[in-house]
């Protein structure tokens, strides 16, 4: 065994925790460090800002509720981007798919809210999935059968989705006699229960879709790593030639992965439309679809990682608004800068520290092996 381990040319192994925990943390620390410098430049105290940020996200019950409410959206979009990643696809369209998913929710709730809750809510969940899936199915189909690159088409589909929503809300679904582009409010029985309805905590937008998101994370793990369909998707994502060799159709799996991705993104509509606003409004997705890319990247496309990354971004959203409110030189835009830096370091610059850290640990293990 020892002989086999130290065999020449075999890659030295890096401990798993380095990949899963250390590198994301280093990236995060680097992002916060640069943010600190920016805050210093605008003339505020970075340490105090960090404290405010943290307190604003987790410091009291209200804050936790809001943080988890944002987290819910990020889990949905993070999982959505991740399933596409597993198939080797870069789904930039979670934003548009979430919008169309929300449209599905809205239509179901607007036209069926005379039915009892236990009928209308499951139907709304299904329409969210179906509408979102449909919106991602088209780019998936175009990629699989026509070779139109999914990055381009999903970006386009974001714009189309936004335009469709505007048109519908201005011309068709607008509340009778209403002045602003939003639908009428749904009947109360179509609302998702808030967590504060059955737990002793202050009123926050946190609703049962958070629990739904956690259940979905479990289902995601099961599907991707424990079923043959997930296996096929991963094979296609890793090596299309091998997939063909093994009789796995790349195009079928590309379409399937995109549809699943769209369905997951569509669930943002459940949280936002059915859980919080209780009506269709414009732009309820608020960039969650885009941040989902960073969440999936940071979370290594694994549900546990995605949950942690979603929690981080949830905290940033919530703590960030607190920060903008508390400290006079830091405004809303400054918070976006900090978020942007984190996305930059954990997403685009994800590999900046990796080679150094990995070679450090490789050398360590090689020396240990040589010593043994």
């Amino acid at each position: 065994m020892t002989e086999a381990k130290s065999k020449f040319g075999s890659p030295a192994k890096v401990p798993a925790w380095v990949n899963l925990a250390l590198i994301p943390l280093v990236n995060l620390a680097a992002a916060l460090f640069i943010s600190g410098i920016v805050i210093l430049i605008v003339g505020d105290d970075p340490i105090q800002a960090l404290e405010v940020l943290f307190y604003g996200a987790f410091g009291y019950a209200d804050a936790v509720g809001y943080t988890l409410y944002y987290t819910t959206n990020f889990i949905f979009t993070g999982l959505a981007v991740a399933i596409a990643f597993h198939c080797g696809l870069f789904n930039i369209g979670a934003e548009g798919q979430a919008l169309i998913g929300g449209l599905g929710v809205g239509l179901a709730a607007l036209y069926l809210d005379f039915l009892p809750s236990w009928v209308v809510i499951p139907i709304a969940i299904c329409t969210a999935a179906i509408f979102g899936a449909f919106w991602a199915y088209i780019p998936g189909y175009l990629q699989a059968k026509r070779g139109s690159h999914v990055v381009i088409t999903t970006i386009m589909f974001n714009f189309i989705a936004a335009s469709i929503m505007t048109y519908l809300l201005v011309e068709v679904l607008i509340a009778p006699g209403g002045q602003s582009p939003e639908s009428r409010e749904f009947a109360e029985l179509a609302w998702l229960p808030f967590i504060h309805d059955f737990l002793p905590m202050p009123d926050t937008p946190l609703n049962v879709s958070f629990i739904f998101a956690l259940l979905l994370s479990g289902a995601f793990y099961y599907f991707v790593w424990r079923t043959r369909w997930g296996y096929e998707i991963r094979v296609v994502g890793q090596n299309e030639t091998a997939a063909k060799y093994a009789g796995i159709s790349p195009s079928r799996n590309i379409i399937l992965a995109m549809a699943l991705s769209g369905a997951l993104a569509g669930f943002v509509g459940i949280n936002e439309v059915l859980g919080v606003h209780h009506r269709l409004i414009l732009d309820f997705t608020g960039g969650f679809g885009f941040v989902g890319i960073a969440v999936a990247l940071m979370g290594r496309n694994h549900p546990v990682g995605i949950f942690l990354a979603a929690l981080l971004f949830g905290a940033l959203y919530q703590g960030g608004s607190e920060l903008a409110f508390e400290m006079k030189t830091i405004n809303r835009e400054m918070v976006i800068v900090i978020q942007g830096l984190i996305i930059l370091f954990s997403g685009a610059l994800e590999n900046m520290f990796r080679p150094k850290i990995e070679s450090f640990f490789k050398r360590k293990t090689t020396i240990a092996a040589a010593g043994a």
Partner: protein, 496 residues
């Protein structure tokens, strides 16, 4: 290690022994962590290919680094154009090339486009490129992998001329035959270490093989005569035109019989890969028919990779990195590639992790895969062990017919012996086996019958006992055999 001026020095070792790494360090692609390089007694600090060229070292890579749409002349001056305007550089290069050609008898048309040249000549362009840059030391990395035996002999003559002119040649290879044929001295590498330096005339193939592996090896495949049974797969007039409209297979006729190994010889790129991918159900044929167990399956629903596996076809692909394995998956997960929807591995919707693990462990034990770790990523195994994983998967699912592409490409000698034994055992168990290999020795020692492919056609088929290297070599170059053997082939087809 030291190399004498004016000699041909061979470096031999198993794949992954570190031959190419060593030469890449000398050529400046990689940095050595420790140690020094001396050229003509002067210590050189080589940290990029330019420094290496300046020190008089030239390298001919296994995969040529030429621009197909440029002429020979343009390729040669690539990187040393000498000035902003090409005209002057080209004229100078033309004169210099003519001199080099004469001096080393490297005849070549300098105005031909590289894309139009056969492989042997392209290699010559690479050599010229190195000489033009003033190389005194020429490193060739596995130069004969893509050549016919005749082309290889020609290359060796060129290398001899170079040596006689005082140049130094370093030849990296894993083929013992070449070392014995041409080198003056040989260094043997094993697992990143130099284990021996010997003069070629004082050594033997057996001794070198032993040095490479670290134990005695059997170079010849031991086998009984085949007892061919029923034809399992009949291929009639099979043609395949690829996506660019180029015909890759032209009216192929083959019979693959139970209890027999049919070898396909040929220089790589003459349609063997396409033959495997059509028979393996990856690409649909353009014309012709495939009859499997007396049933014409050409247009049936089962003629695709997934369904073929279910009716008893195993396929070991030519390139295990591109097709046979998912390198980022564990050995365990690779065990089920292609068989993942079999009832054995599934409990309802769930993949049965225990079943997968158990079967992977049996494969690992039976095929002696090292390290015996089902959770290790496929990329963490050596070439030979990766190949064993693929073979285990395709052989242990009890196929009636097994397609094997390059059974031992990039596999160390110890594993080659094992793989050959497994294939023979399978043949003796009455399975039909098709082996495609560019290693002519392998085809000759493994097969019972040999078909030779050239330019998408079967140029001839002969009994392995009648095959000689020259005869096969001529066929590989596209020379059809005399009428008698063609008649014999006709008779065979009629007779079957």
């Amino acid at each position: 290690m030291s190399v004498d001026r004016g000699t041909i020095h061979g470096i031999i070792g198993e794949n992954g022994a570190g031959k190419s790494t060593l030469m890449s360090i000398v050529y400046g692609f990689y940095q050595a962590e420790d140690g020094i390089i001396l050229v003509d007694g002067n210590q050189c600090h080589i940290d990029n290919p330019q420094a290496s060229i300046a020190a008089g070292i030239g390298m001919v890579h296994q995969h040529f680094m030429l621009v197909d749409t440029f002429t020979v002349l343009e390729n040669v001056i690539l990187g040393v154009e000498g000035g902003a305007l090409l005209t002057e550089g080209l004229a100078k290069a033309r004169k210099e090339l003519l001199r080099l050609e004469k001096e080393y008898s490297l005849e070549i048309d300098v105005d031909a486009y590289v894309g139009d040249l056969p492989v042997g000549l392209r290699q010559r362009v690479e050599i010229l490129k190195a000489l033009y840059r003033g190389a005194e030391i020429l490193i060739l990395d596995e130069p004969t992998g893509v050549l016919t035996p005749q082309e290889a002999d020609h290359l060796f003559r060129i290398l001899n001329t170079l040596r006689d002119q005082g140049k130094t040649v370093v030849l990296i290879t894993h083929k013992l035959r070449e070392i014995m044929a041409i080198t003056d001295n040989v260094s043997v590498m094993r697992r990143g270490e130099m284990v021996a330096h010997v003069a070629t005339k004082d050594t033997s193939r057996e001794q070198l093989a032993e040095l490479m592996v670290g134990r005695t090896v059997l170079l010849q495949v031991e086998k009984e005569d085949a007892t061919p049974g029923k034809t399992v797969m009949k291929i009639r007039d099979l043609s395949f035109i690829d996506g660019d409209g180029v015909p890759r297979l032209k009216k192929i006729n083959l019979d693959i019989k139970a209890g027999e190994i049919l070898g396909i010889a040929g220089v790589s790129g003459n349609g063997q890969s396409e033959l495997l991918s059509v028979l393996g159900g990856i690409d649909p044929p353009s014309a012709g028919s495939v009859i499997y167990k007396d049933e014409d399956i050409t247009n049936s629903r089962s003629f695709n990779a997934r369904e073929l596996r279910k009716i008893g076809l195993g396929h070991v692909p030519e390139d295990r990195h591109r097709s046979g394995l998912i390198l980022s998956f564990s050995a365990k997960e690779n065990t089920i590639l292609g068989y993942h929807d079999s009832a054995v591995y599934n409990k309802g919707a769930t993949l049965d992790q225990n079943a997968v693990l158990n079967i992977c462990e049996t494969y690992i034990e039976k095929f002696d895969v090292r390290p015996p770790d089902p959770n290790l990523n496929a990329s963490g195994f050596s070439g030979g062990n990766q190949q064993k994983l693929v073979l285990a998967r395709e052989m242990e699912n009890d196929p009636d017919i097994l397609l094997v592409g390059q059974p031992t490409r990039g596999v160390d000698i110890g594993a080659i012996e094992f793989i050959h034994k497994q294939l023979i055992e399978m043949r003796d168990a009455g399975k039909a086996i098709l082996v495609v290999s560019v290693e002519i020795e392998e085809v000759m020692s493994l097969s019972d019958r040999i078909a030779v492919m050239f330019d998408g056609e079967i140029v001839g088929e002969l009994d392995a006992k009648e095959a000689t290297e020259t005869r096969l070599g001529l066929m590989m170059a596209g020379v059809k055999e005399t009428a008698t053997s063609v008649n014999k082939e006709e008779n065979k087809v009629v007779g079957s």
